[in-house]
Symmetry: C3
């Protein structure tokens, strides 16, 4: 099992930290959207666990890990309480939340890619699914909140590219049979550092060429 890179206890602690931070981001969006405590809990759960549940459904690992490990499920509820009572304080440490979110991004793309490969997926599919594990929860969060997914917006700093890089490094390591706790940590750190740099310098991806000739948004035919 290449997806078990670390000691079980270490792995679970890392997972719980990543889940908690992703849940915070879901809960904070719920507060901004004026939702009640139940809405906060739903967005926290979906943001934290959505990517992993999608991955597990695709690879056939049912019931998904999120429904088998009670800790994974209760963790976002703890984040819900933190957001409910302390959201101004959480927003005040926004930079810390972004830093932890970047760490979660790194951890989840590595674990997702490794697990997908464990279940027999090819290299390209494993990279795609690793990336989806890391970013899927945020997309589900934005869909439920009825917003254009932050992931897709050009006016946001790169988010998917760091996850893609981390996943690709893991896939490369698997191909040359050198995925270990040390090299896996390196892959996660690469995604983490890239995300922090993208935030610091506001790196963005390019939009289509010759946009002037496109019809303005809202006028187009949706299908």
């Amino acid at each position: 099992m290449t997806s078990q890179l670390f000691e079980p206890g270490v792995q679970e602690t890392l997972d719980l930290v990543g889940i908690f931070v992703f849940a915070l981001s879901g809960g904070l969006l719920a507060v901004r959207k004026n939702l009640d405590i139940f809405g906060i809990a739903v967005l926290a759960e979906v943001t934290a666990l959505g990517g992993g549940v999608f991955r597990d459904l695709i690879i056939g690992a049912v019931p998904p890990a999120a429904f088998q490990n009670m800790g994974y499920f209760l963790d976002p509820l703890a984040a819900t309480l933190v957001v409910f009572f302390l959201h101004p304080e959480v927003q005040r440490i926004n930079r810390t939340v972004q830093l932890l979110d970047a760490a979660g991004l790194g951890l989840f793309c590595v674990a997702g890619t490794a697990k997908a490969h464990d279940y027999g997926l090819g290299v390209v599919a494993s990279v795609a699914l690793g990336m989806a594990t890391a970013v899927g929860g945020g997309v589900a969060r934005d869909l439920l909140a009825n917003e254009l997914p932050s992931l897709l917006r050009w006016d946001r700093a790169l988010y998917a590219v760091p996850a893609l890089v981390g996943s690709a490094i893991v896939a490369g390591l698997i191909t040359v049979h050198h995925l270990t706790a040390v090299t896996g940590t390196f892959a996660a750190l690469s995604a983490f550092v890239l995300r922090m740099l993208a935030l610091r310098y506001d790196w963005r991806a390019p939009r289509a060429w010759h946009r002037g000739s496109a019809s303005p948004e809202g006028e187009g035919d949706g299908g």
Copy 2:
């Protein structure tokens, strides 16, 4: 099979009633959104069957029941015709529709929790999935209609909490090995009564504390 609480014929009749009423709620939203008859049918199907399909995918019960029982699939099409030809009449009996919807909520959270537990999920996960069975179709309906899910809005009477209570009672009954047709009916009735009271007295869930310090909706960063 604890999920087979009632005689098969009784169970199927209850299921069909619940599916029909959920489908009505989907069809009525489609009419309000000015969709054509095909859009009415899609929202009717999704609202009625979405929660159960989600549950069955998570527990690995594929193909989902909705794709194996032709009655479950045709039932929402009957509701589509009713809405298409008689929607003013259906809206006029809105209180009756709400009452039947509350009954469906009670039935689905009980059946969903019991089925999840049958498939080996733990108590907490079974409660979560029972609740998702009851409310998931409505969330899918609102997503397709491009609206903020009614479930998440603070200005709506409690909907998820009654389902949660019904699911939790079932989980408690399973734990003490006392889930029967009688006690299962009690759990469904508890959810039903709680939902009707929430409607009657407009009970709502609280929003986050200290909201004044949150940025107003729409200004926030989505990710």
Copy 3:
């Protein structure tokens, strides 16, 4: 395997053409929504593969074909590059794109219905799933782009009905044991021609009767 209607090479070529054109439609919407190149790639992948992934999850064919055949996954990325560099040219040949999209609709509803039946689904469920294979990607595309699904809007030419007709013909052919490459092509062509006629003459589905009594859109209660 009735879903293998054609020689493997022919089948795969047809699949790749259909996937490419669906991906173009996703990419073009992304450009209209002002998304970056990554958003174009995501909408291209989701539009092209979403319907098939949904079908495969429902019938239990995991991992879905899109995650097992690298060509299916890379194909939308090629469409992404075409849209990124040449989208004004792609929009200029909009009629050609619509024609190819109609061809994709025909191919996918036939293949989807046949595959669903191969996996043991009944006739009605196979028709429903064949239609979902053909239109599901477009719905996922519109959801991610935060738009009311084009499929559901009454002011768009018929899209689901041609897929329904194609799927129903396939189901009929399966029932009388006469589904072959020739009759399957006939079913796909029927859907294709119907879609082209709907576009040419702007055929639409009816909305609910007595709409005057409905509250205007936006005023209604969402749940």
